[in-house]
């Protein structure tokens, strides 16, 4: 069966899986950003917490994704079979690039600018909100972009624990030894990743202050 024919005959199913995939990624990214960016802001002022947070986030990145999904299944509340477990795993993967870039962006600001801000009588929170964050925004966004691309890829494996998405086709295709079915999952996933990467790169360039 040719890949094109499979695409045509399974259009609705592929479309539904793509939507499911996007939803999964979107939920994971929103949570990862909600944790990663504030945590990144926090560790700028807390060196002790800094190494711990970055180390923990790095460790999660080194665990093979299939293994991480497996580890999560027996854990109460977070684990089990299905979408919730997948979201937890994806958040853990997405966290490091967001956390690291937030930290790097906030600390990589021209010292003369920070000294001026302090010397002009800005409070620490004014410096954070009006100087550090706006100047770090493009770097933070670059982290979000990396995390999004990773998450779109890793999310295909979430199908292994019953979270649905485009991975369903890939696993089915592997089992059936059918390239066409594998491609039905892989091509939309790759397209999603490219699209997200391009859009976020565009946004990143617009926010960049030189």
């Amino acid at each position: 069966m040719s890949a094109l024919r499979f695409f045509r005959t399974h259009q609705a199913e592929i479309f539904a899986a793509t939507l499911q995939h996007m939803t999964l990624v979107l939920i994971a990214m929103v949570i990862a950003i909600a944790i990663g960016v504030p945590l990144g802001m926090l560790i700028v002022r807390r060196p002790a917490l800094r190494s711990l947070a970055l180390a923990v986030a790095s460790v999660f990145q080194t665990i093979p994704s299939l293994a991480l999904f497996g580890f999560l299944i027996p854990i109460p509340f977070l684990g089990g079979i299905g979408r919730r477990t997948a979201v937890v795993a994806l958040v853990l993967y997405a966290l490091l690039p967001i956390l690291r870039n937030t930290y790097v962006g906030l600390t990589g600001i021209d010292p003369a600018v920070l000294e001026s801000a302090e010397a002009m009588g800005m409070t620490q929170s004014q410096i954070l909100l009006r100087v550090r964050l706006p100047l770090a925004l493009s770097v933070i966004l670059a982290g979000i972009r990396t995390a999004t691309v990773i998450t779109i890829g890793v999310a295909t494996i979430a199908a292994a624990i019953g979270a649905g998405g485009l991975g369903t086709f890939i696993f089915r295709g592997v089992a059936m030894v059918s390239d066409a079915v594998i491609l039905a999952g892989a091509v939309p996933a790759a397209a999603l990743a490219l699209l997200a990467d391009g859009l976020l790169a565009l946004l990143e360039r617009r926010l960049k202050v030189s």
């Binding site: 021209d110 001026s116 801000a117 010397a119 002009m120 009588g121 800005m122 100047l135 202050v209």
Partner: protein, 263 residues
């Protein structure tokens, strides 16, 4: 000195007073950066802190707006110890200009200059008027320069904006740390001359850090020479070169060899 400190602080005639000030970096043993420095800066004075790199002049400057606190001794600004000041209030009353200007790259020129007035809660129309006034004061056409970003300015223009920003809220004290040090010689000479005229007109208390004796002679009403964290000479510009001290002679010798020095 202790009798001096017994004077009621509110009646202190000095704008800035250092009394037996030492500064050393915490946890690092060895020679302190400043050692037992006493200095009085009267209102309207333009004191130039002159010295080689590492002589402690920038550290002395940063004690004034409490970017640093002294390890020993006291720094009094406007009759109150810097440690007793609310640091935010203290800094909003002190203009600060540094070598790299430190303009906010994501702000326009107008936003940079209007920053401290904004922090002080001035209404928008008063800030806008003040920004125009300040730009004219430093020789930049307001309509042309207000909307620009710092990256669209030359080095000299950036320093002009830096000075305008420091003066915007009309602070009684102005601190300047080698503000013209990174400029090309022609632009530097231009800005030095203009600033000398401006400083006379504004009658601010100015503390100016430099390693350039020519600049010190041009801008200072008093020159204070630092060496290895201590004041070794202090005099009005007319008398400064006559002081018999090896470090003064070393600086005087630099005049003769400096490029563009008068013959």
């Amino acid at each position: 000195m202790s009798t001096e400190m017994n004077v009621k602080m509110e009646q202190d005639p000095a704008a800035i007073r250092f009394s037996g000030v030492s500064y050393r970096i915490k946890g690092i043993a060895g020679r302190p950066i400043l050692k037992n420095v006493s200095l009085e800066v009267r209102p309207g004075d333009a004191v130039v802190l002159l010295g080689r790199s590492g002589s402690g002049k920038t550290t002395l400057l940063r004690l004034v707006n409490r970017l640093l606190l002294p390890s020993d001794g006291q720094v009094v600004v406007a009759g109150r110890l810097t440690s007793a000041w609310d640091e935010i209030q203290l800094r909003r009353g002190i203009g600060y200009v540094i070598q790299e200007a430190g303009l906010f790259p994501h702000f326009t020129v107008a936003q940079n200059i209007g920053l401290v007035p904004g922090l002080l809660g001035w209404p928008a129309d008063r800030i806008a008027a003040r920004v125009n006034e300040m730009l004219q004061l430093v020789g930049l056409e307001p309509r042309e320069f207000s909307p620009r970003r710092p990256r669209e300015l030359s080095g000299g223009q950036r320093q002009r904006v830096g000075v305008a920003r420091a003066l915007a809220a009309d602070p009684p004290i102005l601190l300047m740390d080698e503000p013209f040090g990174a400029l090309d010689p022609v632009t530097r000479a231009e800005l030095q001359r203009e600033f000398a005229a401006l400083a006379k007109r504004l009658a601010k208390t100015i503390v100016f850090v430099t390693h350039d004796l020519r600049e010190a002679l041009l801008l200072g009403s008093r020159i204070v020479l630092l060496q290895a964290g201590q004041i070794v000479a202090a005099a009005a510009p007319q008398e400064f070169l006559r002081i018999d001290h090896p470090e003064v002679r070393a600086f005087a010798a630099s005049l003769l060899t400096a490029p563009g020095a008068p013959a």
